[in-house]
């Protein structure tokens, strides 16, 4: 397999050393804004030619039809301390310099260990062959393709599109009509979150690792 140089977005401002620093790409999911249109799911499937039965992002509805009904889009959260990366025996899951948890399907052995470790249900296992055998893992790539040469036919077939190398944001966030799902550099995303929180006050509906599990040790 040809290991290509990954194209990583950089922050505009120089870092403390006077050097350009890679961005830290994050998703932000605003449960107060999600209207369950399913646009992110469709955009993801369309952009990445996702196999049947696989949902790299899914809108989950809580308390449907009841007071307090809430929707949340759940892709891979690209955790900083990713449990899937910790347990993967073959290092098929790894952090790119921009923080995206990337997957190498050439290395994955399809053991399913990541599925047990992930708290968000991100790892997916398409049927690999006859007799219902499991294939290798598939998950949200943050529309950043894989370790292959960017825009190659092989990358397209294995991982889908590589919008990050094109300088674009993931398809799901790009199409989100209400900007409930925001993607980008953590600093920029944090600014948006800060503005929204300031406008709404406490409990503004941000959802992520800490609201799910509390602050890590």
């Amino acid at each position: 397999m040809s290991q290509a140089q990954v194209t990583v977005p950089y922050r505009q401002a120089d870092g403390p050393q006077g050097k350009k620093e890679p961005a830290r790409m994050k998703f932000y999911i605003d449960v107060k804004r999600c209207i369950e249109c399913g646009g992110c799911e469709v955009a993801c499937k369309n952009e990445n030619n996702v196999p049947a039965g696989i949902a790299r992002i899914k809108v989950v509805t809580i308390n449907e039809g009841e007071p307090g009904e809430t929707n949340v889009a759940v892709p891979c959260m690209h955790c900083s301390k990713a449990p899937c990366v910790a347990v993967c025996p073959v290092d098929a899951l790894y952090h790119r310099p921009d923080g995206i948890v990337a997957l190498n399907k050439e290395t994955c052995i399809g053991c399913g260990y990541c599925l047990y470790a992930c708290p968000f249900g991100a790892p997916q296992f398409p049927k690999g062959s006859a007799f219902g055998a499991r294939g290798v893992m598939d998950k949200c790539t943050y529309c950043a393709g894989g370790p292959e040469v960017a825009f190659s036919e092989r990358e397209r077939r294995l991982y889908g599109s590589n919008r990050i190398a094109e300088g674009k944001l993931p398809a799901c966030a790009s199409v989100c009509a209400t900007k409930a799902l925001i993607a980008g550099d953590a600093e920029e995303v944090a600014n948006v979150v800060r503005q929204r929180m300031a406008a709404r006050g406490a409990g503004g509906g941000a959802w992520g690792w800490e609201s799910a599990y509390g602050k890590g040790p």
Partner: protein, 341 residues
Amino acid sequence: MESIVLWQHKWGLTFHIPWYLFLGGLAGGTMTIAALADLLAGTRERPQSFARAAAYITVPTIILGGLSLTFHLGKPERGFAFPLFFTNYQSWMTIGGWIIGVFAPLSLAYAAAWYFNVGRRVRVVMAAVGVPLGVLMSLYTGFLLSATWAVPGGRWYVPLWDSRYLPVLFVLSGLSTGLGACGLGVLVAGRLGRPSSGSGTPEETWAVARLASAADVAAILVEGAWVYLFLASLGVGTLGQQLAFTLLTKGELAPWFWWGFVATGLAAPLLGSGMHAIGERIFHSRLGWILYVKFVLVLVGGLMLRYVIVWGGDLKAPLTFPPSMWPIPGVSGPPFPGLGG
């Protein structure tokens, strides 16, 4: 925001993982038993026969377990070449790959040493390595699961897979099922006319089987006590652990846990041993069928324990706001088992 349980149906009725955990634990148990008996018995004939039977049983068990582990992979060919592919030494699967990689050849060599009557000195060296390696083998099957209980920087994702209890439980279960397998192996070998006991007389075969049965009673009692501690800890633990406790004792898995494991693997074998001891005195007969049934029940119970634990892994720690790719019981799916929806 309220806490809602994340319930993921993963492998359903797949047999590879529970069978692998069972066979891996069993192989670790039989190897430990064989090596311990060999080391502690000196040249006494009865424990030596026992050690030989245990050594023979280890080989097919670890081979079947290893195949089961490898063929559950999406890419089994990469599993066979694990030294090349398994590069993350933080992962228990990588550590386990190496444990099996050392354990399997050693168990084969140890059984061969018995078969070809290699000198005791060589065998003792192998047995000295075999004791810790056998324990490590059973222990690792527990760590393999419980590594996802609390990964670095995170919280408890699979509350049932408590790393304080599960590895030791699998070691104890490996020993009890290992003793059951040894007892059964000795009886079957004796019946087929290939007794593992030195003198080969039926009396000697029964004596070795009784030895296995008596040791198994002790192992089952310790295992039962550990299960009690495990349950008690779950019952007073975090919300996730309490849910796991409910799932195991009153929920969807309760019949499998109580009947499949506790009754079949712990209570019935103890009852069988009691009946056998009393029956022998009253009827002055061997009542061999009771021992056969007891050993089989111990093995079935050990397998059911692995099934229950793996199925219980479907329960994730409650999220404050749960994402799920699957229906959430009580929310968008069937009610959470045992909690009345």
